[in-house]
């Protein structure tokens, strides 16, 4: 699967624009993309079947879909998304606590059948609510929830409350299913992280592929280079694995990278998505861009089971109204376009999306037009089998925990529901210790 000429030139043009010509000069003229040496995974997954799942069916109840064909997308909203200004409660002192930040009632997007309303920047999502493929989980937290970004992220990603863990919840699930699905052979494309690596994907045997920015993910060589030979030699440095584990980890990154390059070259070859034309560092990492890439990967049906999409900036300590609006608009538009793509490719029923964020923010606003770190937060869940059009849990605004939304729903019950949908009943067994039962999200 060679990287298409057109796509590659797009990248080089972007480089010239950014680098003022210097980088382009280094890579001038016949800059050549190199063909990755390793073809995609050889185990051909079952082809997509487009069953129309019953919208309101409970979790894991769309039996006509081969389970191994399903994909879970975890959309990480890093920084601690403000739950209250995302899914806005009708009552409970929300407006009193936020004289500056409370959203104007008339601007909000109504959610049929509930007292809650959505931030106006998420209005595009209402139709998923209406067709019952979207639900919300309010007051969601990990037990021993921390107000530290790093501790809270560790805990949300590991699915282990309180103490540090070497593995992530998705990584453990991938480990547990690696024998059944892959005869025990690690396949780096089974789990793909877009926008940055996610510790949630870390397992013991599982390999994952982390792509920070799909928009400038490519290989370049100097003019006149036998690129195939040079890439082959680069690949050769990766085997056999040395015994020293740090160097071995650096070796292991190489084949997965070349696989991923082949994959993404294929996802971009038949699209005019502008994110692939831009080689600006930083560009291409919005939810819109990353979810677009995710949809294309899903459409290729190459056995990817889990995707994480990481978007940052939700740590809104100051000037929250404008910042949060832009962040949520990106999420709303990104998800709407994502589902539209899946509809077009007939993949919608294979995909579940769960959002995460390491904590919710404090109920009371601070003096900077923002909110500080809080406790309970919000998860949004999308998919053919969700218990849609419902808010699960609640904000518990009458029983705040030190000024914060208390834990009303254990995050792990949402995780378990997602894993059981992904792999079938009982497939989440062994992923969590002492976790509550799956929630019918």
């Amino acid at each position: 699967m060679p990287i298409s000429r057109r796509n590659f030139l797009g990248g080089a043009a972007g480089a010239a624009a950014v680098g003022g010509g210097a980088w382009a000069a280094l890579l001038r003229d016949s800059v050549e993309a190199t063909a990755p040496m390793i073809p995609g995974p050889t185990t051909a997954p079952v082809s997509t079947t487009n069953t129309a799942a019953v919208a309101t069916s409970p979790v894991a109840a769309s039996p006509r879909l081969p389970l191994t064909n399903r994909v879970l997308v975890v959309l990480e909203m890093n920084g601690g998304n403000d739950a209250l200004n995302t899914l806005v409660p009708a009552a409970g002192g929300y407006r009193d606590a936020r004289p500056l930040l409370a959203l104007t009632e008339g601007d909000l997007a109504a959610l049929g059948g509930t007292d809650y309303q959505l931030h106006p920047a998420l209005a595009e999502l209402v139709r998923f609510w209406d067709d019952k493929t979207m639900s919300a989980v309010a007051g969601v937290a990990m037990p021993k929830q921390s107000r530290s970004h790093f501790q809270a992220m560790d805990s949300w990603r590991s699915g282990v409350p309180g103490s540090p863990s070497q593995t992530g919840w998705l990584g453990r699930w991938l480990d547990l299913t690696i024998d059944a699905e892959r005869n025990g052979v690690p396949d780096p494309l089974r789990a793909i992280a877009l926008g940055g690596g996610s510790p949630a994907l870390v397992g013991v045997e599982t390999l994952a592929t982390a792509i920070r920015n799909p928009a400038n993910f490519n290989l370049m060589t100097q003019p006149g280079t036998d690129a195939d030979a040079l890439v082959a030699a680069f690949l050769a440095t990766s085997a056999p694995l040395v015994t020293e584990p740090t160097l071995a980890a650096a070796q292991q990154a190489i084949p997965g990278t070349l696989d991923a390059l082949a994959l993404l070259a294929a996802t971009s070859s038949d699209t005019d998505d502008p994110s692939f034309e831009s080689n600006t560092p930083g560009a291409g990492r919005s939810a819109v861009d990353l979810l677009g890439t995710a949809a294309r990967i899903i459409g290729m049906d190459i056995g990817t089971r889990v995707l994480t999409v990481s978007v940052s900036g939700f740590d809104t300590h100051a000037d929250q109204l404008d910042n949060h609006d832009a962040l949520l608009r990106d999420i709303g538009t990104g998800l709407a376009q994502f589902f539209a793509r899946l509809d077009a490719s007939g993949d919608r029923d294979r995909v579940m999306v769960v959002t995460t964020s390491e904590f919710g923010r404090r109920v009371r606003e601070n003096g900077s037009g923002g909110t500080d770190h809080g406790n309970g937060g919000l998860q949004l869940v999308f998919g053919p089998a969700v218990n849609g059009g419902m808010v699960h849990g609640g904000y518990g605004l009458e029983s705040l925990d030190d000024g914060d939304i208390p834990l009303m729903v254990d995050t792990r019950s949402v995780y378990q529901a997602a894993l059981e949908w992904l792999g079938g009943d009982g497939s989440a067994d062994g992923v969590f210790e002492d976790a509550p039962a799956p929630l019918a999200v």
Binding site: V18, Q151, R212, T221, T225, A233, F234, T237, T246, S368
Partner: protein, 429 residues
């Protein structure tokens, strides 16, 4: 533990960890100095006759107006250019390693500060105080305009304190997680209220007493905390502080180290009254004794050390772009935790970028550069030595180098040099 079999191996280790690369021949000089002499030279270059440095941006007057993006962008580029040139030419590499460590530690991002002179002042603070008294460093950073903007201290008032800086002061900058309670976050936030940044008047920090809550707070068990000095005194007198800083600085230079080593470094730091140079000296000394682990180097380390070894001629715009592709743009850490670590540097994006940039570096290496001469002659041990790996390349990399056609590139040897630079070996210090 790392086994060093010769002085050359040990000083090469010090060069990989504590400098921004060595030009060909410089490793011989380190070897002649010996291990202790090299550490002393790095820690105290003045004693070796190296002059003090002014700021990289010292003799440069400019008016920064962000609304004029053409001019302000050019200024940002020039600032970056001066910074990178300094890193490549300095005779005080450890000072700049420490400056980079503190920049990573405080993680102030230009994307938030959006004011170039304030950002440069902050970076200069990291350099000029980065090898001095830790208390003074924290005190100055606490009221540093860039920091006041970065973590919202500038909008934190007595009536409505913003906890952002107070929390990170404890969790990330001084004592670390588990060593404070939520009440301490609130206490620090209250005690530090009242500082503003006068954005239209030179972006200076100013204390406005009516925005300050002077009520005495209890912070980490210390009573009567009510302002910057008492806050800094309380956090830096915590027993956790020297250990926390020692563990972070120790891991920056040495990779994974065990707890006894961390506590030992912590006691040295405490006994030296939080003098950062003393901590750095102890850290390099214990590392040179083999008390260190293999470490995945950051893109800036890999790139600058590669440039120094090869003499590759790379323009500043290309440097920025390369670092962006690798995932580490200086002055733009992605979040308050600082630059990402090994998992990102080993990720697919960085791996692909490393290959592409290695080919560009090899292409920009002069034909008479020792690294290219060695590569052309297939003298892999000489090439590895020039790349600060006197023990040679790993077997798989050697095999790959040997299997590579000399004429894979138009210029013989260029392909092998690119491969060596891109190899897993160069990613590990």
């Amino acid at each position: 533990m790392i086994q060093f079999n010769s002085t050359r191996e040990t000083v090469a280790f010090l060069a990989r960890r504590a400098t921004w690369g060595l030009a060909p021949g410089a490793l011989d000089e380190f070897e002649a100095l010996g291990v202790e002499g090299t550490i002393e030279f790095l820690v105290n270059p003045s004693a070796a006759g190296v002059a003090d440095e002014a700021s990289a941006w010292a003799d440069w007057d400019f008016t920064y107006d962000r609304s004029d993006r053409r001019t302000s962008r050019a200024q940002e580029l020039q600032a970056f250019d001066r910074w990178m040139k300094r890193l490549q030419t300095t005779e005080r590499p450890l000072d700049h390693q420490l400056a980079w460590f503190w920049h990573d530690h405080f993680a102030v991002s230009f994307q938030v500060v959006r004011h170039l002179p304030a950002m440069l002042d902050h970076l200069e603070l990291c350099r000029s105080l980065g090898r001095g008294d830790f208390r003074e460093l924290i005190r100055r950073v606490t009221t540093d305009p860039a920091m006041l903007v970065f973590l919202d201290g500038a909008t934190s008032t007595g009536a409505s304190p913003n906890e952002n800086f107070g929390r990170e002061l404890l969790e990330l900058y001084t004592v670390g997680i588990h060593n404070f309670a939520e009440a301490d976050v609130k206490a620090a936030a209250v005690a530090l209220t009242g500082w503003v940044v006068q954005r239209r008047l030179g972006f200076d920090a100013r204390f406005v007493s009516r925005r300050h809550d002077d009520t005495p707070q209890t912070l980490l068990g210390v009573e009567g905390v009510h302002d910057v000095d008492t806050t800094v005194a309380a956090v830096t007198s915590s027993a956790a502080c020297p250990v926390f800083i020692a563990s972070k600085l120790g891991r920056y230079f040495l990779g994974d180290i065990d707890n006894p080593t961390i506590f030992e470094l912590g006691s040295v730091f405490e006994a030296a009254d939080l003098d950062i140079t003393a901590l750095a000296r102890a850290t390099l000394t214990t590392g040179a004794a083999g008390n260190a682990s293999p470490l995945v180097v950051s893109p800036l380390h890999w790139l600058l050390q590669s440039i120094k070894s090869t003499g590759a001629r790379i323009e500043t715009e290309s440097l920025i772009r390369a670092l962006g592709l690798l995932g580490q743009v200086p002055a733009q850490p992605p979040n308050v935790g600082g630059y990402p670590g090994a998992s990102t540097w080993l990720g697919s994006s960085a791996t692909a970028a490393r290959f592409s940039i290695a080919t560009a570096l090899a292409g920009a290496t002069p034909s008479d550069a020792p690294a290219l001469v060695a590569a052309r002659a297939s003298d892999w041990s000489a090439l590895a030595d020039l790349l600060l790996r006197p023990t040679g390349f790993s077997e798989p990399t050697l095999d790959a180098l040997n299997g590579l056609d000399r004429f894979v590139t138009t210029r013989p040897g260029e392909g092998a040099l690119a491969l060596a630079l891109a190899s897993p070996d160069l990613l590990i210090a």
